[in-house]
């Protein structure tokens, strides 16, 4: 399960031939897309809200050091402890140590991409501490030993039959086939886990610098249980999750819920500031905030790609991406998928570990159009493509450079361009398939046609057709 290298080409090929996955992808992305579109149209000034959210994120990121120190101070004042982790290993170590010091035997977790990122579950297991994912989708994924395939709906690649078999095999229970029955089984098992757990680990959707509050958005209630029932609460939060002011939440919660699932408000939002107060009747006695860098602070240095850190993880870019909609989450090789995965995985892990991802896009810009903080995905992708090529892991060999020169020479000389057009029509004929397209060209063009057809060169050029048709179309 550990991260080694992204193999987008190979994994996406597999995904495309996986029929149940293709069906699930269409269902989930269509459902979320329709809901998001409706929810955003309901808000008269939606684009202004997006612009305002972007401005606030920009302000936060450009003053990140100051806001982090403010957050630290406010969390401490509320009675919480703050830890700084420069990478995944250190973050896991910090959290496992908190567990050891608290004599923790069992941990419940609510959904958190950051904990996926640092592979926290492995560290707990290595330390002999039991850890249970409690979001229903994540629980299914944990039982199956897999990775989430969608930020919002992690187990969407599994059918109810898959889940029924999985529950029966792993939990030793009879086969239940209805989603309601399976959900009920999970509720009962997880409820007793909550009541027995010594520690709860959550992520956060936002951390408010001004008040030291972390905010968790969810529908199931497992994050509420995780942060209420056990005696220790640990929140692992990426340093980019900050927002400056308490009242900024009204804007961010509005755009997040509508962009993610199309809800006006998510079912539960928890605003947690420190541990329980001495007069409170329930809630955790200890609160730890672990601030995770893991490559984020380096992204800041690039003006062109800095905005990757504005992301609030709503998943709208996934649902609207023609590439994600075909290849699914696992093809992106790591915890973040879709357009956001294509831009942050190479930046967090190193461009040499994921050189294919910046190219896993048609640059159509659908992601940019729906992004609640208006991240300019095509711009960032192009910058990253440039970095890939410059790091020499890219594909500009002598052949490609020669090809581009030849192309340039041709289009710069009109007569040669005309002749080339005619000639290519005849040259292509041996490869022209029955559908009128080129479907198996020799190397190096086979790298294109192995995956999809190439449109054939027409017999008549556009100029010729224009001349002939001019009279008809007026």
């Amino acid at each position: 399960m550990g991260f080694e290298e992204v193999r987008f080409e190979q994994d996406s090929e597999k995904a495309i031939h996986n029929k149940p996955l293709q069906k699930a992808l269409v269902n989930v992305t269509n459902r979320f897309r329709t809901a998001r579109n409706k929810a955003s149209e309901d808000v008269p000034n939606w684009d202004n809200l997006r612009a305002a959210a972007r401005e606030i994120k920009k302000e936060t990121i450009e003053n990140l050091d100051k806001y982090l120190l403010m957050l630290e101070e406010r969390v401490k004042r509320a009675g919480g402890k703050v830890h700084w982790a420069k990478d995944a290993e250190e973050a896991s170590q910090i959290i496992v140590n908190i567990a050891r010091e608290g004599n923790v035997k069992s941990v419940v977790k609510s959904k958190s991409m950051a904990t996926e990122e640092i592979e926290l579950n492995n560290s707990f297991e290595d330390a002999g501490i039991k850890v249970i994912e409690t979001d229903l989708g994540e629980y299914i994924i944990q039982l199956a030993g897999e990775r989430p395939s969608h930020i919002i709906a992690p187990a969407i690649h599994k059918t109810k039959e898959d889940i029924s078999k999985l529950f029966s095999a792993k939990l030793g229970i009879p086969r239940y086939d209805k989603p309601e029955e399976l959900t009920k089984v999970a509720r009962e098992i997880l409820r007793s886990e909550f009541l027995n757990a010594d520690m709860g680990v959550s992520g956060a959707n936002f951390a408010v610098a001004e008040t030291g509050t972390i905010v968790i958005v969810e529908n199931e209630g497992n994050a509420r249980l995780t942060t209420t029932v056990p005696k220790i609460h640990v929140a692992l939060v990426g340093i980019e999750k900050l927002i400056p002011r308490y009242e900024d939440l009204s804007l961010f919660l509005t755009v997040l819920a509508r962009s993610a699932t199309g809800q006006k408000s998510s079912t539960y939002v928890s605003f947690i500031t420190g541990p329980k107060r001495s007069t409170d009747i329930d809630g955790p006695e200890e609160f730890h905030l672990v601030l995770l860098d893991n490559g984020r602070s380096k992204i800041l240095a690039s003006e062109e790609t800095r905005e990757s850190l504005y992301c609030i993880r709503c998943g709208a870019c996934l649902n609207n991406c023609p590439v994600y909609r075909k290849v699914g989450g696992h093809s992106y090789g790591w915890v973040y998928s879709g357009p956001i995965g294509a831009i942050i995985t190479p930046q967090l892990m190193g461009i040499d570990k994921a050189p294919e991802l910046p190219f896993a896009s048609s640059l159509c810009g659908a992601c940019k159009d729906v992004c609640p903080v208006k991240i300019d995905f095509p711009k960032v992708l192009l910058e990253l493509r440039k970095n890939v090529v410059e790091s020499k892991k890219g594909s500009t060999g002598i052949g490609e450079r020669f090809g581009i020169r030849l192309w340039r020479f041709t289009v710069e000389h009109e007569s040669i361009y005309k002749i080339t057009n005619k000639l290519s029509y005849y040259f292509q004929l041996p490869w022209k398939g029955r559908n009128g397209k080129l479907n198996s060209l020799p190397y190096p063009f086979s790298r294109w046609t192995d995956q999809r057809d190439f449109p054939a060169v027409a017999k008549k050029t556009f100029r010729e057709r224009w001349k002939n048709n001019k009279g008809e179309t007026g």
Binding site: N27, E62, T134, T211, I281
Partner: protein, 230 residues
């Protein structure tokens, strides 16, 4: 170890932001907004449209699978609640001790009706009780959201662990939208230390669609949510 990382992270951030961070004065600049006068404005506008807000709120609640019980008086609250207890065969309860709930003495009424009172101190007991009763601090009309603030009389588990949550909403606690709410919250936050350890927004009962996108209620939190409006 951790301290070194703190310095290292801050150093990398500062280095990365060289040439950008010239807006020193901008940090929290909006804190200069006057939330007291804004809150006054907000309250005025809410008062003008209160009955419309109640209708809107009830409509939104129904959209999110919440049962709305409209009552006209304190007596009706008791009557509706006793009806529910009979219908659902409820045997035990936990309850918040807000000013209003104390005034109408609901706790005693329920005890008199034969229900067992459970405290939030014991997580196992409250998890096995039948209903949790709260009186919300605020409610947001345009999303159907309940806003609950934790304090010494208002423990978190009451709206979380029992299978049924019943929330009482008084009209004076309704706000138009989340923007209004944060203006009011901010205006009342004289001192950052006074902030509650936990504020919770609740919009409908617990739900999931993690299995084939099929909507299922009551996965972790309460399976049923009742809102009693006055």
């Amino acid at each position: 170890m951790s301290n070194n990382s703190r310095e290292e992270i801050l150093h990398t951030i500062r280095k990365g932001l060289e040439g950008v961070g010239k807006n020193e004065g901008k940090v929290l600049a909006d804190a200069n907004r006057n939330f007291h006068s804004e809150a006054e404005e907000v309250h005025k506008r809410i008062d003008e449209s209160q009955s419309a807000l109640i209708t809107q709120f009830a409509g939104e609640l129904k959209e999110v699978n919440t049962n709305v019980i409209e009552t006209g008086s304190k007596n009706e609250i008791k009557k509706s609640l006793l009806g529910l207890i009979k219908e659902k065969e409820l045997k035990s309860f936990s309850i918040w001790e807000s000013q209003f709930l104390k005034e109408i003495n609901l706790k005693q009424e329920l005890k008199d009706a034969g229900l067992k009172l459970v405290t939030a101190k014991n997580k196992n007991r409250i998890a096995n009780s039948d209903i949790g009763i709260t009186e919300v601090d605020y409610a947001i009309a345009d999303t159907g959201t309940l806003v609950l603030l934790t304090d010494k009389n208002q423990p978190r588990s009451v709206s979380l662990l029992p299978p049924i949550h019943l929330a009482i909403v008084r009209p004076e606690n309704l706000v138009r939208n989340i923007g209004d709410l944060f203006v009011i919250l901010k205006s009342r936050l004289e001192n950052i230390e006074d902030i509650t350890s936990c504020m919770t927004f609740i919009t409908g009962p617990s739900r999931t669609a993690d299995i084939e996108l099929s909507l299922t209620l009551g996965v972790h939190g309460p399976k049923e949510l009742f809102v009693l409006t006055l």
